[in-house]
């Protein structure tokens, strides 16, 4: 019953004696699935910009498509989040210490939204590859499209939250002024930082999916250390200066403080650490460039069994 002989198709005579590699070279065939150079990779990624944007918007829309209120949840979710944090930290725990209610509530809401932006970028970054293996194994595209697309989705989500934030700020007496223009560079820098971080955890999560289980705990620790619901300055008053500075240069704390500085009238530059813009730029550039290269280095290995 084992009569299956391998019938080799008669190759055309000029190619008969060639090995596979020589044959490939002769006709200009390239190795399938090899990693492109960094420049080529960036070029490919740029070619996919429409896909990256469309994918992030599709994910955003799909999120609430089964809900009766539909896209209204884009605004309602952050609003409810802010209300819960205000109830717990503002009314029950009195975490406001040394800040008037008019400053504290926008302070808290800004903190929650800005931190959530980074938090959800990291969470979706961890699953960007491991949660989309079907896509990775079926289609060709630079894999960095996925984490970048998810970060972009979070950015769009944050823009909805910003509407709530503007309403809260105005409601507590901080009116739009020139300083609100600073929101744009802060968002750009934080987006770059988030994307870089998402790229890093995406590669780690692709190799070790368990990271998705661990991440919420790391992120929560990070949140409590970043001064989301209290001011690092006021909380640590009397402690050595360097401890305060170390906590303050934490990237999320930097972006949070800059956003508060831009939005809230009663939150002046005395709350900011020195060289704050330089540090904000530093984190953004280092994480984005580093994360991008780190992710690219494993490009050909994503999607392996």
């Amino acid at each position: 019953m084992h009569d299956g002989t391998v019938a080799v198709t008669a190759a055309a005579s000029p190619d008969a004696g060639l090995t596979a590699a020589e044959l490939a070279a002769k006709y200009g065939l390239s190795v399938s699935g090899a990693r492109p150079s960094l420049v080529e990779y960036v070029r490919q990624l740029w070619g996919r910009r429409h896909f990256i944007l469309a994918f992030s918007q599709a994910k955003l829309t799909a999120q609430y498509s089964q809900a009766k209120l539909g896209q209204l949840w884009q605004v309602a979710t952050p609003l409810l989040n802010a209300a819960v944090y205000f109830f717990i930290f503002g009314l029950i725990l009195h975490a406001s210490r040394g800040m008037s209610q008019d400053v504290y509530i926008p302070f808290l809401v800004t903190g929650v939204f800005v931190f959530t932006f980074t938090q959800s970028s990291v969470m979706s970054g961890v699953r960007a590859i491991s949660g989309n293996l079907g896509l990775v194994r079926a289609l060709h595209f630079p894999r960095a499209s996925l984490p970048i697309s998810f970060s972009l989705q979070q950015l769009q989500q944050l823009l909805f939250s910003m509407l709530v934030l503007f309403a809260v700020s105005i409601g507590f007496g901080s009116y739009p002024g020139l300083s609100w223009l600073l929101i744009v560079p802060v968002l750009v820098l934080q987006f770059l930082f988030n994307t870089g971080l998402a790229l890093i955890v995406a590669r780690m999560g692709a190799k070790t999916p368990d990271l998705a289980q661990l991440m919420p705990f790391l992120l929560r620790t990070w949140m409590y250390a970043s001064g989301v619901m209290f001011s690092i300055n006021n909380m640590l008053a009397g402690r050595p200066e360097w401890i305060v500075r170390v906590l303050q240069v934490n990237p999320v704390a930097i972006y949070m403080d800059l956003m508060r500085f831009a939005l809230i009238d009663g939150y002046g530059s005395s709350h900011l650490p020195p060289h704050v813009w330089a540090i904000a730029l530093f984190w953004a550039v280092v994480f984005f460039a580093g994360g991008f290269v780190y992710f690219w280095k494993a490009e050909e290995r994503y999607g392996r069994g």
Binding site: A11, L23, A34, A58, E300, G305
Partner: protein, 259 residues
């Protein structure tokens, strides 16, 4: 089919002693309890809760432009894995695959989202395959017409989750087949849809082949292989058992499965 001999034979895909090994996490035979998992993690070594599946073992072949190649073999013989490796989506353990241009797997379904309308999925799927917005706009109507989704009312503006499985499969095939591929690989896509749609897709495959590409088709339906392919690779247990003209290989295969 005599046409293949007149063409100058330009290789499009060369597989050279290709081996593919899957690594599966947490599928180690033995106790599945948490303590067992922990002890596996603590016990350092190469194999920590990882099981290897050797899916393709040393396959070599050369595919030429204008060929339609059928892949046959029983379930789990490594057909789909081989396609993914040729597409560069699964890295080779050993050996190499050389390709001309970028082979694409007809597998756009992974990019589509059930909660979105058919309309948005056509655009999303097209972008995911690397088409430009202009190309999609240009072919949008063709895709919708080909899928026949709108034959029973305006379904294209409804979310895909409201489609029947046949309708969804037709839309997926239509999106995937809208692009001109250098090397196109189809994994049992023809088994879906009604008879009318199957004929239409077979026709489209022949068309794609004529556009100087190479088509790979995985199917358990010997008839659709016979209708579309001029060469067949027969895989069994990850090894290439036979490679030749459709009629010859299918005859042996039918003898083999008949027993």
């Amino acid at each position: 089919m005599a046409e293949q001999h007149n063409q100058d034979r330009r290789p499009t895909v060369i597989a050279d002693d290709l081996h593919i090994v899957y690594r599966v996490n947490g599928a180690k035979s033995g106790k599945g309890s948490a303590t067992a998992a922990l002890s596996r993690i603590l016990r350092r070594g190469e194999e920590r809760g990882v099981r290897k599946v050797h899916a393709v073992r040393g396959v070599s072949f050369v595919a030429y432009r204008g060929e339609a190649i059928g892949l046959i073999g029983s379930n789990g013989s490594g057909k789909s894995t081989l396609l993914r490796a040729v597409a560069g989506l699964l890295p080779a353990e050993k050996g190499k695959v050389y390709t001309d241009g970028q082979p694409s797997l007809l597998g756009v379904n992974a990019a589509l989202m059930n909660d979105l309308t058919g309309e948005r999925n056509v655009i999303l799927g097209g972008l995911a395959m690397g088409m430009s917005r202009e190309q999609i706009k240009e072919r949008y109507q063709d895709i919708v017409d080909f899928s026949g989704i709108n034959e029973k009312g305006d379904f294209i503006t409804l979310p895909m989750r409201t489609y029947s499985s046949g309708m969804a499969a037709r839309l997926r095939f239509s999106i995937a087949a809208a692009k001109d591929h250098d090397v196109l690989m189809i994994d049992e896509a023809l088994a879906t849809g009604d008879r009318k749609f199957q004929q239409r897709s077979e026709e489209r495959i022949r068309e794609l082949r004529k556009e100087a590409g190479t088509v790979f088709l995985v199917s358990h339906n010997n008839k659709s292989i016979r209708d579309t392919c001029n060469r067949v690779l027969w895989l069994e247990r990850g090894e290439l058992r036979m490679d030749g003209p459709t009629d010859e290989v299918l005859k042996e295969y039918e003898k083999f499965t008949g027993k």
